[in-house]
Symmetry: C2
């Protein structure tokens, strides 16, 4: 009494260190139930071109499946494609459902963030309207941790672990000379400070670091920031500031945008693109406070550093993939499995299902009471929230000194 | 019949992931011989202010000593101080030797790179002139791997392992969308390409990465580079280029400098400081080839990422510290222990002593025959050289999900 069907699985949005663990969870659970599993190359976008791969050929042996979970980024490739409103343009839906019928597809799993949940929500609604038996389930993934319907998202814990570990190391590096200095570490997060906040986990006994954290949720003026840094420099030699790329001023403008009335120029003398919050603040601090400064952008390293993945994160990512398959197997559609936290201490979670329509296109922010009164740091509540998510070290398989990854057999780099 | 003396140990120059292992090697070996060990805070610079700490208090227990070896950066602090020519200004020497006499110092160990060897060379020469019994020994350290007198330098292997692992992960990240793109990864190295070259170790079966490597030793024109990238993009979706910060043109100018006749401006419209080889090339490539580009600076992460240290590197760093102490114990002065490689396969090394005067202020470059014919990559010879140096994973002690470090008891951050 197996699940005698074909299921499709795709990955969408930005890469993470954990998204391939969710793929493993989907694949292994669907296979265990008897389904045949096809992977979409480059998400829904590749699906239009019938770019499907047989996952048994790629992942059919235990070694490949294990390697998959220590490979960062999206094994199947990704896209940033948004389905149109079916009332405006039904054609993409007709094409996709025709393809599903031809392939005998019984369920579609899409691993991604807010936009991916929008895709699943639209497909599920269209399927319901057409009385299609196909089940559509989203599996949450985003380093940004900004999804509703879950306590936290797979990918966040690993990014947080990378950020905490790296900021701890940067703190060490920056304190090496007997010289006043300020280091700005730029962390991803356009609209939410979940990632920048995780830098609080870098603090250790006798070594508090970072000293300040700037979150998009908590705007500050340059003047207030400079004053606070100057105060810190009275007692300390080295100040470390973790800044969200989306750190902003009370008037809502981004720090990386020019203050009103000033045109910022790029290296070619053209008006500058939005980038470089840390570079801007480092230059400003050097000018105003006359100290040595440095800007460090963690860049894509924070989302693709599987070598420093959180064991908790990879395990939960895998489980959520499997729970999503279970939901479809049990006949549900338009759902996203999420995590409910029972306790932080001991860390206990349960899995539940949310309606994707209630999750799609929303953005969860860091609560006000988790941000320090001065707006330049996070409170103990944030730390207690984030701490269990970075726990657990993963034992990777190294070949010639570098972590080994799996490659799709049919690869178009 | 112990070594009934006091020895001083200091760290100098840029931080690395391995310099504290050398400190551990100096400390444990000197203690095993019976000496008392004092650490200089902030190198020779701190010594002038008598900033000395009792290392027994800091490192006297095995747990502290083990934590020290997984702590990046310089535990004792560092400086970039150059002793004057004693013929021009003898005063600093008189002060230091007076201090050595007051403290009953029998030997001085200085862990650092070219500049530090200059310090040891001058102190040894001055000591010989004054018929001082004090022994001066340098212990090599630099991620740049540009020291004479040794096959390679402690710190290089760990930086190389970080670069190889991270570039492998960036390669994964950059291939995720079905979109032509070029990623420039900027790696330290003003004058030598040892670090950038190590990115060749990121290549794996079925996943060759990076595609091009630019080294300071092998100048290229922007035109040649663009032509090569365009060729690669005909067959591939994603191209990864590892660039030394010191990559340059055939006329000797740095890539990060403006081409002749063009003034580069910074974000404030001022003439730009020297920085941003990868940003310059990413902007240029986007303009000339019309593809998506990204610039990633590995920045200080590559020198302070102890969490990804090479086991081989840490072990050799420790041993070199100990061999340096042995040399002083045996009565030698003005020496630097170095590594001689017997074989790469199996990897076998021996330790020998070089004269610091023959090492100081020199710079070892990547040999021409280790650079690819087109000047944009390294050969198999380079790979065979670098491969054993990144081998071995270190089992770190994690607390709350982040690697734990040791802090000096008397800490001035």
């Amino acid at each position: 009494m197996g699940w005698n069907t074909t299921v499709l699985v795709g990955q969408s949005g930005g890469p993470t260190a954990a998204i391939n663990s969710s793929l493993a969870g989907v694949y292994e659970t669907a296979r265990s139930l008897g389904a045949n599993v096809l992977g979409m190359r480059y998400g829904v976008q590749g699906l239009f071109d019938d770019k499907l791969i047989d996952l048994d050929r790629q992942l059919g042996d235990p070694v490949s499946l294990q390697l998959l979970q220590q490979t960062p980024s999206s094994f199947l490739g990704s896209c940033r494609y948004k389905l149109p409103d079916p009332a405006q343009n039904e054609e993409p839906y007709q094409r996709l459902f025709k393809l599903f019928a031809e392939r005998g597809v019984g369920a579609v799993f899409y691993i991604g963030g807010n936009d991916s949940m929008d895709t699943i929500s639209k497909l599920a609604a269209y399927g319901a309207r057409e009385q299609s038996p196909i089940r559509f389930v989203g599996v949450p993934k985003t380093i940004d941790n900004d999804l509703e319907g879950t306590d936290h998202t797979p990918g966040y814990g690993s990014a947080a672990k990378y950020i905490a570990s790296t900021v701890a190391e940067i703190g060490r590096d920056s304190s090496v000379y007997d010289l006043k200095n300020v280091t700005f570490v730029e962390i991803m997060g356009r609209n939410t400070g979940w990632l920048a906040g995780a830098s609080c986990l870098a603090s250790q006994r006798n070594a508090y670091c970072p000293d300040l954290i700037l979150l998009p949720e908590s705007p500050v003026t340059e003047d207030a920031l400079m004053e606070r840094i100057a105060e810190l420099l009275e007692d300390m030699k080295s100040v470390v500031v973790a800044v969200s790329e989306g750190a902003r001023r009370p008037d809502g403008t981004l720090m990386c945008e020019a203050p009103t009335g000033v045109t910022k120029l790029d290296a070619f003398g053209h008006e500058a693109a939005l980038s470089g919050t840390s570079r801007y603040l480092a230059t400003l601090t050097a000018q105003r406070l006359g100290v040595k400064t440095r800007a460090i952008e963690l860049s894509t390293l924070q989302r693709c550093a599987n070598h420093l993945a959180s064991g908790t994160d990879l395990q939960e990512a895998y489980t959520l993939g499997g729970v999503g398959v279970r939901a479809a197997f049990e006949g549900l559609t338009g759902k996203m499995p999420g995590i409910v936290r029972r306790y932080s201490q001991p860390y206990v979670v349960e899995y539940q299902l949310a309606d994707v329509s209630a999750v799609a296109n929303k953005e969860r922010k860091v609560p006000r009471e988790w941000i320090r009164g001065d707006g330049m740091g996070v409170t103990e509540k944030f730390r207690q929230y984030a701490k269990p998510l970075v726990r657990g070290e993963v034992s990777s398989f190294y070949v010639n000194g570098a972590p080994h990854h799996i490659s799709p057999l049919v690869i178009g780099r």
